[in-house]
């Protein structure tokens, strides 16, 4: 059913001798909502710009509908882009901005008018036709940018952090709006963001990238529940990542204790990373727990408390609605399905320890700097 539309093979991009993209292999299906997710400088925008035709890869191929399009310039591709910070034409009003691509394509004025009006309805900007784009709010500019791209009925729409400049509330609304438009028009969306929540809530497929390499490709549930390495586990949501040893199938040892788990297929005694999501952990009385530790801090987060518990010098983040006072001895129980085992990777030991935890961890990833 799903038809492949774009394929990237062995894509490498170097800039001034620095590897920005390192052997990217990826295919994108027709009608798919695919998100490239990663921190600043991971190569996601570069990948998008290569697909859009604004950059030529150092090596590797870009295939569109089975045809190699490396050398096809941007203006001849059936792909349109919603740029970071919109890039609307300041010398044109809303109507002329949206009609821009159709006029270049020399469509009859009557059809242009029809399509622009339809688009204005879709993005709820009817009545704004003759406004100057400089007089619009961020959210309105953003919708003009989407309309300007979609009115050309591209096969693929590229979106480069389109919601980055909007405030949280507007961002949530636009996320739903974008998903709705994508489903209504049946267009392939390739979406770039560093916001994991945005990626999880909108995408059919997420591609997690770091340091110019693809770390994991999968459905949002898979990425969250079965992260492939410590980087993915840490970048998508919060994770406690521990050193462990896989004793045998369905049995992993960490903190000197054997736990039942649902993972298999490792070699006997293989050192592994063990991921435990903070929200999967249940508190019990100290003497009944699998592990026993001391509460060192508690922060109220609205929906839950973020509690840091010290287990033999290794600090875990636990998210729960139960209040636990600082200094209290607590026990925790882990169910087999709460324990995720990953192979060791270059990222092992870098993430997942909350010893340097600060209540502001949410802000750390909020680096919206342009990556060029």
């Amino acid at each position: 059913m799903a038809k492949e539309l774009i394929r990237l093979t062995n894509l490498t991009m170097e800039f001034d001798g620095e590897k920005i993209l390192d052997n990217i292999n990826l295919y994108i299906n027709d009608h798919e909502f695919l998100t490239l997710l990663g921190p600043s400088g991971c190569g996601k925008t570069t990948t998008l710009r290569i697909i859009g035709g604004f950059l030529t890869p150092t090596s590797g191929d870009v295939l569109f509908d089975g045809q190699r399009i490396n050398a096809v310039p941007a203006y001849q591709r059936k792909i349109n882009t919603v740029f970071q910070r919109y890039a609307l034409f300041p010398h044109l009003d809303v109507y002329d901005n949206i009609a821009f691509g159709l006029r270049i394509a020399k469509l009859p004025e009557l059809e242009i008018d029809q399509r622009v009006e339809d688009m204005l309805d879709i993005v709820s900007l009817r009545g704004f036709e003759n406004r100057k784009v400089t007089q619009l709010s961020g959210g309105q500019q953003q919708r003009v940018a989407i309309a300007r791209a979609l009115v050309n009925r591209p096969k693929v729409l590229l979106l480069d952090e389109p919601l980055g400049a909007l405030d949280l509330r507007l961002r949530k609304d636009m996320q739903n709006e974008l998903k709705r438009i994508q489903q209504a028009m049946g267009i392939t969306f390739i979406y770039v963001t560093h916001d994991q929540e945005e990626a999880l809530s909108m995408s059919d497929t997420i591609v997690v990238m770091d340091k110019g390499q693809i770390q994991q490709i999968g459905r949002p549930e898979d990425i969250y529940n079965e992260p492939k390495n410590a980087f993915v586990a840490d970048f998508i949501g919060e994770s406690n990542i521990l050193d462990g040893v896989m004793i045998e199938d369905y049995c992993v040892e960490f903190f000197g204790r054997k736990f039942q788990c649902v993972d298999k297929g490792f070699s006997p005694k293989e050192p592994v990373d063990v991921v435990i999501r903070p929200e999967d952990i249940d508190f019990v009385e100290a003497d009944q727990g699998h592990l026993c530790g001391t509460v060192t801090s508690i922060t109220f987060k609205g929906m839950q408390y973020d509690i840091i518990v010290d287990f033999k010098g290794f600090k875990w983040l636990i998210q729960t609605t139960d209040y636990q006072p600082v200094g209290k001895r607590v026990g925790i129980r882990l169910n087999p399905e709460d324990i995720h085992v990953m192979k060791k990777s270059a990222y092992s030991g870098l993430f997942g320890d909350y010893s340097s935890y600060s209540a502001e961890y949410d802000e750390i990833a909020e680096d919206t700097a342009d990556e060029e």
Binding site: F83, A87, H91, I104
Partner: protein
């Protein structure tokens, strides 16, 4: 309050050296040269100078147009080079202005006159000397040469500030190179074109030295007439009247040109 106080020196300067002299010009323009009585005679006489006014405006507009045609590609090229080259090339553009205006114009005389450098070469080849000087062409050449930097600089500044993402957006929407230029870059450079044309036209229309040295009696410009009224004809009242009319004409021209930018000036956006 504080910001207004900072303006004080400038306001004082403007009053003493611009507004009061302007008043004096107006006073002279409306008084008789001998009796000092109020009169409109000076202004009534201006009809005789209409052809010269028109010629000044005509030659200056041609010069501004040629400056635009030469200057735009230069400014565009400079704006698209690396920052290091941009600094060096804009220095080069400004370089002639470090040399005295008089010297530059006299150098052209030495080049163009009948016994000048070019015609010496031409006659050495056994040909007749070319009519290179004392005509409209040589006056326009002198003005273009002298005022070209005033065209390139504002154009370069405006073109450089055009957001490269707008160019990518245009390509994304199907523009080839030519269309990117005509649909996006050119309309966005309009403020630069207007200010460049103004900055060439205004000094050119009131210039007096270039036409004296490179032109003939048939190419006299209004600046020359004004100068002669003060220096040789000893009729400062007529000179003042001519200046006044000149100034009003320039204001009208600037006002007319600014009508084009009114809508676009605020268009230089950063979302």
């Amino acid at each position: 309050m504080k910001s207004k106080r900072l303006l004080a020196p400038y306001v004082a300067w403007m009053t003493v050296f611009t507004l009061i002299p302007l008043g004096v010009v107006v006073y002279y323009a409306f008084t008789d040269s001998l009796t000092g009585q109020f009169t409109l005679a000076n202004l009534n006489n201006l009809g005789a100078y209409l052809p010269i006014f028109l010629r000044s405006i005509f030659l200056s507009l041609i010069s501004a147009a040629i400056c635009l045609l030469i200057g735009y590609p230069v400014a565009y090229t400079i704006a698209n080079t690396s920052p290091k080259w941009q600094r060096m090339l804009s220095m080069l553009v400004m370089l002639p202005m470090c040399m005295s205006f008089l010297l530059r114009t006299l150098a052209w005389v030495a080049m163009l006159e009948d016994t000048g450098i070019i015609n010496s070469l031409v006659t050495a080849l056994g040909l007749k000397p070319l009519p290179l000087i004392r005509n409209n062409g040589s006056v326009i050449l002198g003005m273009v040469y002298n005022y070209l930097p005033y065209m390139i600089t504002p154009l370069y500044t405006v073109i450089m500030k055009i957001d490269p993402r707008l160019i990518e957006a245009a390509q994304d929407l199907g523009c080839n190179h030519r269309q990117v230029f005509t649909r996006v870059i050119l309309p966005l450079s309009v403020p630069g074109i207007i200010s460049g044309v103004t900055m060439v036209f205004v000094p050119a229309v009131s210039t007096f030295y270039i036409s004296q040295k490179l032109g003939s009696t048939g190419t006299t410009m209004i600046g020359d007439v004004i100068e002669s009224q003060f220096k040789t004809a000893y009729n400062p009242n007529l000179g003042a009247a001519l200046s006044l009319v000149m100034m009003i004409l320039i204001f009208i021209c600037i006002g007319f040109m600014n009508r084009f930018t009114d809508n676009d000036e605020e268009g230089v956006v950063t979302p």
